[in-house]
């Protein structure tokens, strides 16, 4: 092997032309806009906000969350916008739902919470106008109501729920126990109510219209079943607040 000055020239030309031909701007090494760091406060995209802050617990289009899907059409149809905003900003005390507003130790700016609320509310609106959902045609039960009568709740339970959750609520073939005191301790009455109305279709739990064919649960039945469930909590007799009273751990 014998290399001379011409060959050095050749090399330099190779390197130079490699640079030039490539046009450089199409090469994979060029930093992409999408890799650019964005300040967490500057994220304005609903999908991204929901994906990074909520999807792990509530799921999203692609995933199932261990907690209720807040994008469930029935849920979105009943929950008032201001309540939704308060829930996201302040969380639900005594449960795993953290407050996301900066004032509550969260990471989201008010503007970002508004983006979440507006988009969720917007989804509800399109679902209703599209007319495909049963959410618009029926008289929906109100989002919140004080718990009803425990004994009548027991009857309603047997009528609507026992087929899946077992005779005493201890669990059956199709679904697990909903009277477990530990379970009830970790969720609020409002959550139970939301679940009964909206169901958890992603897990095989129907909504309030579907438990019994052509016979939707009445608002009273819903309130009564919530009361009956809440009566299984430890210390349920002392307090019957909307939020599980025995909860000890502050969110986050």
């Amino acid at each position: 092997m014998n290399f001379s000055w011409p060959s050095i020239l050749l090399y330099t030309c190779c390197a130079g032309s490699l640079l030039a031909i490539s046009g450089c701007d199409q090469l994979p090494g060029k930093p992409k806009e999408s890799d650019r760091w964005i300040a967490p406060d500057a994220i304005k995209d609903f999908k991204q906000l929901f994906g990074t802050n909520c999807s792990a617990c509530h799921g999203d289009d692609a995933a199932i969350g261990p907690s209720l899907s807040v994008q469930n059409p029935f849920y979105l149809a009943i929950v008032p916008k201001d309540v939704l905003k308060k829930l996201i900003a302040e969380g639900v005390k005594g449960t795993a739902m953290p407050g996301f507003a900066k004032a509550n130790g969260g990471d989201l700016a008010d503007e970002q919470i508004d983006i979440l609320v507006n988009n969720l509310a917007g989804k509800a609106a399109t679902q209703q106008t599209s007319g495909s959902g049963k959410t618009s045609s029926e008289n929906l039960p109100p989002y919140s109501a004080s718990p009803g009568d425990t004994d009548r709740g027991s009857e309603a339970y047997n009528q609507y729920c026992a087929g899946c959750h077992g005779q005493a609520g201890n669990g059956g073939k199709k679904a697990g126990s909903i009277v477990d005191p530990d379970y009830l301790h970790l969720v609020s009455d409002q959550y139970l109510r939301s679940i009964i109305i909206a169901g958890r279709p992603e897990l095989g739990m129907p909504n309030y219209q579907e438990f019994v064919k052509n016979h939707p649960m009445s608002p009273e039945d819903i309130a009564n079943v919530v009361a009956w469930l809440a009566s299984h909590r430890h210390g349920a007799s002392e307090a019957n607040a909307a939020v599980s009273p025995t909860a000890t751990v502050s969110s986050q």
Binding site: I8, L19, P31, A56, A63, I64, A96, P98, L186, V249
Partner: protein, 505 residues
């Protein structure tokens, strides 16, 4: 025409003595056997240095060494200034290659016994060059001023702070204050662009002077021993016998190797691109995913793998001893055999160092020890690990997310990898064991006893117990039996049997 040129050339020659300079430097005689691929690493290192100076000058035209603006100026280079990213890429990869090539050069010199008599000072000046280069790589990483840089400065400060007596003052000089801010950045900037490159130039000159003065080491032959009394005569005989001028006789392979090196560096810059800048440095944001640049990755891996409390050893005692050994090497074995075939210890040292550094670097690249900070709220659990769970287990999964277990533990491979993947944890741990692990922590896992109510603990463990493949039974005792939790739990114990598990009914 030709004659005027000749006159000018002669006029210059008489004043600058260029021929003599040429003969003493580029044209100096070297043993013909050194025209070998193994002897090209030195010049490659020099080429890297030249590339760094060139690209560094251009980078300095755009870079603003202030905490407020450095990040923005790098973004400008990346996204706005034409080919700015190529410049950054070449500078970044040039630095990485410089450290690697320098290491290869040192290895060759070590294995060829070139550090022995009479080239001790050449070796020592080379060691100084190594440390200056590492200093440049380190301070260069600080220029990015992102979280990686922050991590680096933090470690650097803690190393410097361990030096007896002057440690604290040194940290103060380095950082210019108690926090890592603009003062620290401008100090590292002057280190990176003035002090260290200046030092490097000076020591490169010394190094080359020594290389020229003492001659390039001949290819050693097994059995030919170096003796202080006879070596000089031996070497001048070699030069007389097979000496050739370095240029043009022995430089060919250097040219090819350097051409390839330049292509590799430019190619890496074009196809892999520059590094970062990542998340901007911010003292209020917890650094979760910082990693140093390649030359320091192995140290990072050491820090992560060694038990807590070993840092003083890792960052102070070990470097001190290692560098002392390095500097004193030519005096430890000054004479004797040069050929690697007759020096098994030297070969073993090289193999072990490469294996060690290589494995540690690999570990650092692949081992995601850093927790994944947004997994708890942003990483859904795969549907099959949610479906078919009882309401209590579902709440357990919520607790699992809420307590940020997921930041350290993956389920189905997704999540942090600080702790073990828990996809099948129920097959190896029973219910009481799980309770103990959660309440008391252990290993590198924090204890959650104080943060969890008994209900949360039972829900959480119920969920963990559901994590086993359908065809593999959970560890014995695990299903359905929730024992009262030990003394740490003051609240009433649950009624056994309340926990419904699908399939039992």
């Amino acid at each position: 025409m030709m004659s005027t040129l000749r006159t000018v050339a002669l006029w210059l020659e008489r004043r600058l003595h260029l021929t003599k300079l040429w003969n003493q430097t580029a044209g100096h005689p070297v043993p013909a056997s050194t025209g070998s691929w193994f002897y090209t690493f030195g010049s490659m290192t020099l080429t890297c240095f030249c590339i760094q100076i060139l690209t560094g000058i251009f980078l300095a035209m755009s870079y603003v060494p202030s905490a407020a603006e450095s990040y923005h100026s790098l973004e400008l280079l990346n996204y706005s200034i034409p080919l700015g990213w190529v410049l950054r890429g070449i500078h970044y990869w040039g630095s990485t290659c410089m450290v690697i090539v320098m290491m290869l050069h040192m290895t060759q010199v070590f294995l060829w016994g070139a550090y022995k008599y009479p080239r001790e000072l050449t070796w020592i000046s080379g060691c100084i060059l190594l440390f200056v280069t590492l200093g440049l790589a380190f301070s260069g990483q600080v220029m990015r001023f992102d979280t990686d840089a922050y991590w680096g400065v933090g470690i650097g400060a803690s190393v410097a702070g361990r030096i007896p007596i002057i440690g604290e003052a040194l940290v103060h000089i380095l950082l210019g204050g108690p926090i890592i801010g603009s003062d620290a950045l401008s100090r590292f900037f002057s280190l990176h662009v003035f002090i260290l490159p200046g030092a490097l130039l000076a020591f490169v000159s010394l190094h080359l002077r020594l290389v020229l003065g003492k001659g390039i080491n001949e290819q050693p032959k097994p059995g030919v021993l170096v003796k202080r009394e006879t070596y000089d005569k031996h070497y001048s005989e070699i030069i007389k016998r097979e000496g050739v001028p370095f240029v043009p006789a022995a430089i060919n392979k250097d040219i090819v190797a350097n051409g390839i090196l330049i292509l590799v560096i430019v190619g890496l810059a074009l196809f892999v691109g520059p590094n970062g800048p990542g998340t901007p440095a911010d003292p209020t944001i917890q650094i979760a995913d910082a990693k140093p640049d390649t030359p320091f990755l192995w140290l990072f891996a050491c820090a992560a793998l060694l038990p807590n409390g070993s840092e003083p050893w890792l960052f102070f005692v070990f470097p001190l001893v290692a560098s002392l050994l390095l500097f004193l090497l030519p005096f430890i074995t000054n004479e004797g055999e040069k050929h690697w075939r007759r020096r098994p210890v030297a070969v073993a040292i090289v193999i072990l160092s490469y294996l060690g550094i290589g494995l540690l670097t690999y570990e650092a690249i692949t081992g995601p020890w850093s927790p994944q900070m947004d997994a708890w709220s942003g990483l859904p659990i795969k549907a099959e690990y949610v479906k078919g769970r009882t309401p209590l287990e579902l709440q357990g999964a919520v607790v699992f997310q809420d307590m940020q277990c997921r930041n350290c533990h993956a389920i189905a491979g997704e999540g942090g990898h600080r702790g073990p993947d828990l996809t099948q944890v129920a097959t190896r741990m029973t219910n009481p064991q799980l309770v103990r692990q959660v309440i008391q922590g252990g290993g590198n896992m924090p204890a959650f006893g104080k943060n969890l109510s008994p209900e949360q603990t039972r829900a959480l463990v119920a969920y963990l117990c559901s994590l086993h493949p359908p065809n593999v039974p959970p560890a014995r005792e695990a299903v359905g039996v929730l024992k009262p939790i030990g003394e740490t739990q003051p609240t009433p114990s649950p009624t056994p049997g309340n926990v419904a598990v699908r399939g039992e009914k």
